[in-house]
């Protein structure tokens, strides 16, 4: 039994690795195979996987995860400035530092549950956001955002090689491999696979089972003698570290960190992704990320001219009305579509796309069974 389980884990991981690494190939018919978008998929994938460990398994709805994205980004940029343009220290420090902050926030917020927890995380998110704009300006560079400059110390870089003074801004690299284009994507993809592996292990572990128990009935869990808080805090820290990793990877793609990443509505976005795909399922969050980021990419690029082209097969008057009807939802209005999608999913499909698939599958299998019964009857 146990060996079988292990084998199936390996099988899942193998399939997942192949799917992720071959994304540039199988996404090309959809026109989504350029590295920038793929990298965005992978980064938000990590974020959503991490968020799912908290929200999906324990049911604690946090609005504070944007904090850790922000902390991860700022730490990564500082690492670029002070240590080296190599991405390894940046993501390591980004993740660790986000973990420390997550421990602090989680330790306090998790003293309460339900809606109070949500509001506590909301309060923390606003606090960090406001501080990043005001008092912490020496660290965050306020509204301008933190960027790298040619004159930064970069101690490690200068230690090992002669840094040419002057010239343009250095770019992020991994031991000489530039982190832009496909190499950047593959680096992020490897981390995504790693993140997925960790999440898979957590889902199948006794620890994951305890988190699920907290979601279904925390009181009963307490009656059986478990102290639930350490598990919750651990889950919070893990998901915070995932968010920190995602944040530092954002800085890797573009060495710039701004406070707007920390706004609480940014946490709302990851909630949406997780829910759209399927809360508490292994693949759901990734699916949600893929759908939203792909649609965002398409919808924001559309303008009225493209719409006229799209509806050109219709007669002129119908074409014009269609454009008038559709145009509020595309381009600048992408957020409107997002909001509507969010509402529709929560109202009709609280389990997300994964649940939708399951329902369709059930319907088909049921039909078959009924047919079998009918045939048997005849």
């Amino acid at each position: 039994m146990k060996i079988e389980k292990k084998r199936s884990d390996l099988f899942i991981m193998a399939i997942f690795t192949i799917v992720i690494l071959s994304m540039p190939v199988w996404l090309s018919p959809l026109g989504a195979n350029y590295p920038d978008l793929l990298q965005k998929f992978a980064i938000f994938g990590i974020f959503a996987i991490g968020y799912n460990i908290l929200f999906g398994l324990t049911g604690y709805l946090s609005f504070g995860h944007a904090i850790f994205i922000g902390v991860g980004s700022y730490t990564a940029v500082w690492s670029f400035k002070l240590l080296s343009m190599n991405v390894l220290p940046a993501i390591v420090f980004g993740t660790l530092f986000a973990g420390i902050i997550a421990a602090l926030v989680g330790y306090v917020s998790l003293r309460r549950s339900g809606i109070y927890f949500s509001i506590l995380t909301l309060a923390f998110a606003q606090m960090f956001y406001n501080l990043a704009y005001s008092v912490l300006t020496p660290l965050t560079n306020g509204e301008t955002g933190l960027t790298i400059a040619a004159g930064d110390p970069r101690v490690l870089d200068r230690l090992f090689s002669d840094v040419a003074t002057g010239g343009g801004l250095p770019s992020t690299e991994l031991f000489g491999i530039s982190m832009s284009g496909y190499s950047g994507f593959y680096f992020t993809a490897v981390l995504l696979i790693l993140a997925f592996f960790i999440s898979l292990k957590i889902f199948n572990s006794p620890f994951g089972l305890k988190l699920k128990a907290i979601k279904s009935n925390q009181h009963r869990m307490k009656y059986t003698g478990y102290n639930t808080r350490p598990y919750l805090v651990t889950a919070f820290i893990i998901s915070g570290m995932f968010a920190g990793l995602a944040g530092s990877l954002m800085a890797v793609t573009d060495p710039l960190a701004g406070a707007e990443r920390m706004q609480w509505t940014a946490s709302g976005e990851v909630v949406l992704m997780t829910i759209l795909g399927g809360v508490g399922t292994l693949y759901g969050p990734l699916l949600g990320v893929a759908i939203i980021k792909y649609l965002e990419n398409i919808f924001s690029a559309v303008n009225e001219a493209t719409l006229h082209g799209f509806f050109s097969f219709l007669p002129q008057w119908l074409n014009d009305t269609m454009v008038v009807v559709v145009s509020p939802f595309v381009g600048e209005g992408w957020h409107l579509t997002l909001g509507l999608m969010f509402m529709i999913v929560v109202i009709f499909l609280p389990g997300g796309v994964t649940e939708g698939f399951q329902k369709i599958k059930n319907r088909f299998t049921k039909n078959k069974e009924q047919e079998k019964l009918k045939q048997g009857g005849e």
């Binding site: 339900g114 949500s118 909301l122 309060a123 709302g268 209005g333 969010f342 509402m343 609280p350």
Partner: protein, 338 residues
């Protein structure tokens, strides 16, 4: 002393807005048991009622400007001015207070539609799902407003007669330099009036009595043959009107833009929690308290010692209260305790 008084007034003013929004939130939560993240959007819609009303009043036509004689110059003239002359101009000047007349029915309708159309289906769902669906609704409302009114703040002037400052200092026998904008004083008294009438409505009318009884024990009131649901729907409309009125009157203080709702939402949730979930006096008291705290924290004398405290004081207080007094300042026993 002057500075303290000014900050006190500022704080009360800010607190009045918080209190009004939090009052509506608490009403909805106490009656329907729904956590409404779209309540900030209602506040924003109220402010845009004022904007729309002013736009309607100032619908203009191009006429020849008689004051320029060298060539035929055109100017925009509002129909109201053409029809009624000076009276029309006065009406335009009083656009903001007059828009209350429009805001009340509009906000009531929006509130009822929201409750019947969406919130009703979420009574039995978890709080997390309520938060998520109303959050989505807030985004939708916000984006619709942005589509029609653009992303920039729209300045809304207060009526001319009260656009100057009141000599508060002279009244109180303090220095003559102590002045305070009239409109803010009006806002403060207006909010007190609204809060007072909401409480009077709940305490003195039969309808209010039923609502209070329903908040206390919904099932029992239902057994007595009263359609509690219907009353609660009206309460939702009422909460929406209160939020809308707060928005209308706040328009001259803060030029309305499409995301002002979200900014106030977080604050008012914090206010509700500090006051105690489900406690109306708690929400009002906490609103004023946090408003005053925030303005005192932004005084230079305070920020000298604790830089940045004005940015976080409200949230800090909320965190401390939530951890030490889970029920908030005036929360009732048994309401949302876990």
């Amino acid at each position: 002393m002057d500075a303290v008084l000014i900050q006190l007034l500022n704080g009360l003013d800010k607190g009045a807005a918080y209190a009004l929004i939090a009052l509506g939130l608490t009403l909805v939560f106490g009656t329907l048991g729904v956590v409404n993240f779209a309540h900030g959007a209602l506040f924003m819609l109220g402010a845009f009622c004022a904007v729309t009303f002013q736009k309607i009043l100032t619908i203009s036509v191009k006429v020849i400007d008689p004051s320029i004689t060298f060539f035929t110059a055109y100017k925009e003239q509002a129909y109201l001015e053409i029809w009624f002359g000076d009276v029309g101009l006065t009406i335009i000047d009083y656009a903001v207070p007059l828009s209350i007349l429009m805001a009340i029915p509009v906000m009531l309708l929006i509130g009822l539609a929201m409750e019947r159309g969406l919130i009703r289906h979420f009574y039995k769902r978890t709080h997390a799902e309520q938060i998520l669906v109303t959050f989505g609704l807030a985004i939708v409302i916000q984006e619709v407003i942005r589509h029609f009114f653009g992303a920039n703040p729209i300045p809304m002037p207060a009526p001319d007669i009260v656009s100057s400052s009141a000599a508060v200092g002279t009244w109180l026998g303090l220095s003559d330099n102590l002045v305070y904008p009239w409109w803010r004083l009006i806002y403060l008294s207006f909010s007190l009036l609204v809060i007072g009438s909401v409480f009077a409505f709940l305490q003195l009318t039969t309808f209010g009595m039923v609502v209070r009884a329903g908040m206390f024990d919904r099932q029992m009131v239902g057994f007595l043959g009263i359609n509690v649901q219907r009353k609660f729907t009206i309460v939702f409309g009422l909460a929406s009107v209160v939020a809308g009125l707060a928005g209308v009157m706040y328009a001259p203080i803060l030029p309305p833009d499409y995301h002002m709702g979200m900014d106030f939402l977080v604050l008012s949730f914090v206010v509700v929690v500090v006051g105690g979930m489900g406690s109306l006096p708690g929400a009002v008291a906490a609103g004023f308290l946090l408003g005053v705290l925030q303005s005192f924290a932004s005084m230079t004398i305070v920020s000298q010692y604790l830089p940045g405290i004005d940015q976080v004081i409200i949230y800090l207080v909320a965190v401390i209260i939530l951890l030490t007094r889970p029920r908030g300042l005036m929360g009732r026993k048994g309401v949302m305790e876990d």
